[in-house]
Symmetry: C2
Subunit: 499 residues, 2 copies
């Protein structure tokens, strides 16, 4: 029938849609069922494997990855879905402790399905009315939590990008001419951060044309906290060299040790020398601090804050906001390019709702919505309970590590990062000399290999500041229980006892 | 029972998980049903509204956006889901023509649900084995399509960010010392691009510390194509000024007019003067070119290509790759920071699969997977059919515009962007003087307001290069039919006839 009434242009039939909607809908339904059974319902089940390990070459052979001229049928495609799930690491698993994100948040997940189905891009109110208002509401609430009376902000693709945004914004504030004229012919700009900071600060300095050599790393103390006196020394050194220190990046919860830089002392120095203070909440949420310690933790003194709800608050990757204390429109002045095809000023609504020109991106995901949904579902109290529980579990684990033979803490944890060694029986009576450390260095990688191949647990390790390889445990998911903590230590002992 | 055997730490019960998995799973199931009914099944239905327009203040009042101390129950949350969907623009609707993305791809959507549920971060093989291999397979296929024998690449959050990556990479190639030393004290770098280029080139120059003044805009001809002689003049001018031209950004399919820069002539000039040639496939896919014109279109002569499958190939926002001709590891040398906690070299597998150090991001989404799924489902042939159909529809619309009274093409379209004016009856006999253009300028915004409030269709407009406001139509979705093209013109006439 369709072919009979065909309107042909260059041999293509143009009547009616070409896509078979019914078959397509059916496919999505079938795939969703698989996701429900194989991912979501298994997320709470500790008897499932954390991963079904295969080495790269073998996995390539197991999956049919090649893209061909002809398509595959739905049955084959659904099998791909099953295989992809099967061989993927279950970051939702209660025993996945390998990164600074983990677990499943049902509310965030439902919100993510909605945004994927609606496929919005958040730049103008006309095309994303709901998601722009949601982003605005979430940013306002985050700003309130930081303790600022006013502020501005934007969600963007990750903490690393947030740090870049902040550094560029501080540079614009320091010298607005740089936006147009660039850095050539300008004095050498200097960024200051602790030697425990996240590697993204260096990446940002390189990307922004500041140069990695112009990141001055401030010594930190034995706990990994920036030493304020050292910061002041380096500021003075930079000034003496005739360069322009303009930006201090502090961290609340460093990546490996979980250290908190002393923000109040750092803020004093920044004020004294007119430096922009940027704070990264690397893996914890500001919520945690306030709830835990009942204080604002001085983050309100920062000029900007990078807050990543995709980590401890389980919003799903990616979900990161850069928050800015300035409310004079600095963010927009710094980033605007005034594209007339997108940000027409003769629209019939209040165009101050069009936020696209604050961003380095054009298309931008509605990442605020999933965090909004979780917060709406749990309330601030529910978020607080989650964090309290994770921290209580961390304290339980620390106590167990202290009690058990063969386990040794690197340092008393300040927060949720627990760094420890497992000492196999063969090393327990050895003197702590070169040979001891050399041998201990290979213990964590060997245990890691065994746990991956068994699929029982996933836990990260690294060497750090002259210390040989140690495990780093962070608790995030509310599905983690005391039993999982016991299992973690039992399993490490069992996997490593013959090393 | 749980409370009876409670292990308390600081008042928190640590036995068993705290989250109610069953209720959570149920919630996701209910939300998925709503998505299926309200978004996916309605995506093919032209009798549904494209948007349910509400002005910002009214919409705020309709939605309960405030985040509170206590959470909401599931019933309330599901109502939020319904409201969010109701008041969101249906970018899947066959009559949504407002942006350079549209429609629904069932395969990509299923893949997106999978990645949201699995929540991977693509940086190391150990944590994202499948998604790293998929990204690798997709990049290899894209490189093959461009016509390079070898190459490198990375998926990242959008075309704007891809352009930044390319500019920074070209700068690193031009002078590797800039990574460490920064731009201060270096000669003034100059970027060259056409005056029709996307605004992200300017944003990139500003972000990277090069400065917007050092973007030299090359004159384009009346069709919006960069004039190669003008490019050469500007390169010579930059050299004469003692500055360092290093990067030419060309576009295949500009944002507004859909113009194709003459790549072969531009490539000749780049070779002559040793400039990096970057090509942006702003909204079309390379696939289109090759299939349509049966030729490689010289993009193989580019040093880098930004390819955005989230536009014409409907992969969903965000899905963008930066592809690089260099296969000597330039991308990694430029971007690496060697974070020892993530990229340990003593892992038990081949760590060359860990791609995280090529990226400016740390956490990174598995955006390649959804595009892989669509390609797998349709095959190259199926993608080709989609593009051919969209282009045939574009030609049909152009013919109709020429036939109908009151419609006027801005210029004969080269590809899929159709720029046109609607001339209401009141203007049809007026002389084309100042008053005529002034009045015509207000026609498109007035019709846009009416179509938004009615919800029948969404189509963008803008002024451009001295031309008053005109409509820009781009066809992407395979659900669009000839009937929708007729409706588009009928509706514009009907909404604008009294203006």
């Amino acid at each position: 029938q369709r072919r009979k009434n065909a309107i042909l242009v260059d041999g293509v039939i143009l009547n009616g849609p070409v896509a078979d909607s019914e078959a397509g809908e059916k496919f999505v339904e079938e795939a969703t069922k698989i996701i429900m059974e194989e991912v979501i319902k298994k997320a709470a089940d500790v008897t499932e494997k954390v991963c079904e390990w295969q080495p790269p070459e073998k996995l390539k052979a197991l999956l049919d990855l090649e893209l061909k001229d002809t398509g595959e049928n739905h049955q084959k495609l659904l099998q791909f879905c099953r295989d992809v799930i099967k061989f993927s690491v279950k970051t939702n698993h209660p025993r996945f402790f390998n990164q600074l994100y983990a677990g499943i948040d049902y509310y965030s997940l439902a919100a993510r399905f909605i945004t994927e189905a609606l496929n919005p891009s958040v730049y103008t109110y006309e095309v994303s009315p709901v998601f722009l208002l949601v982003e605005d509401a979430v940013l306002k609430k985050m700003i309130e939590f930081i303790g600022w009376e006013e502020g501005d902000g934007i969600f963007n693709p990750g903490g690393s990008v947030s740090n870049m945004y902040a550094m560029n914004l501080a540079r614009y504030k320091y010298c607005p001419d740089i936006k147009e004229q660039g850095l050539s012919g300008m004095p050498r700009l200097v960024v200051l951060t602790s030697d425990e900071c996240h590697y993204s600060v260096k990446k940002a300095a390189s990307f922004l044309g500041i140069g990695t050599q112009n990141v001055y790393f401030i010594k930190s103390d034995e706990r990994g906290k920036m030493i304020p006196e050292e910061l002041e020394k380096q500021v003075l050194r930079a000034r003496k060299e005739g360069s322009a220190p303009f930006f201090v990046s502090a961290t609340a919860g460093t990546t490996v040790l979980g250290a908190f830089d002393p923000l109040d002392e750092i803020a004093d120095i920044c004020e004294r020398y007119g430096l922009w203070l940027h704070l990264t909440l690397t893996k914890l949420s500001h919520v945690c601090f306030e709830l835990l310690y009942g204080r604002i933790l001085f983050s309100s003194r920062a000029n900007s804050v990078a807050w990543n709800p995709h980590k401890m608050l389980m919003a799903g990757i990616q979900c990161c906001a850069l928050l800015v204390k300035d409310s004079s429109g600095l963010l927009k002045r710094c980033y605007s390019a005034n594209a007339s095809y997108l940000f027409q000023q003769d629209k019939f609504y209040d165009v101050s709702y069009d936020t696209g020109d604050k961003s380095i991106q054009c298309s931008r995901r509605a990442d605020a919505f999933k965090f909004w949904m979780t917060w709406k579902a749990l309330g601030t109290t529910g978020l607080e309970e989650r964090v309290n529980r994770a921290l209580a579990l961390a304290r339980y684990l620390v106590d167990e590590i202290k009690k058990r033979e063969g386990f040794q803490l690197l340092l008393e944890p300040e927060y949720a990062n627990i760094c420890f060694w497992y000492i196999p029986p063969s090393l327990r009576n050895m003197e702590e000399g070169h040979e001891y450390w050399e041998k201990l260095h290979h213990v964590a990688p060997a245990i890691k290999e065994r746990m991956m191949k068994k699929g029982s647990i996933m836990l990260g390790y690294q060497p750090h500041r002259g210390k040989v390889n140690f495990f780093r445990q962070v608790i995030i998911s509310p599905k983690v229980s005391r039993e999982d903590m016991d299992f973690l230590l039992d399993e490490i002992s069992s996997l490593g006892k013959d090393l």
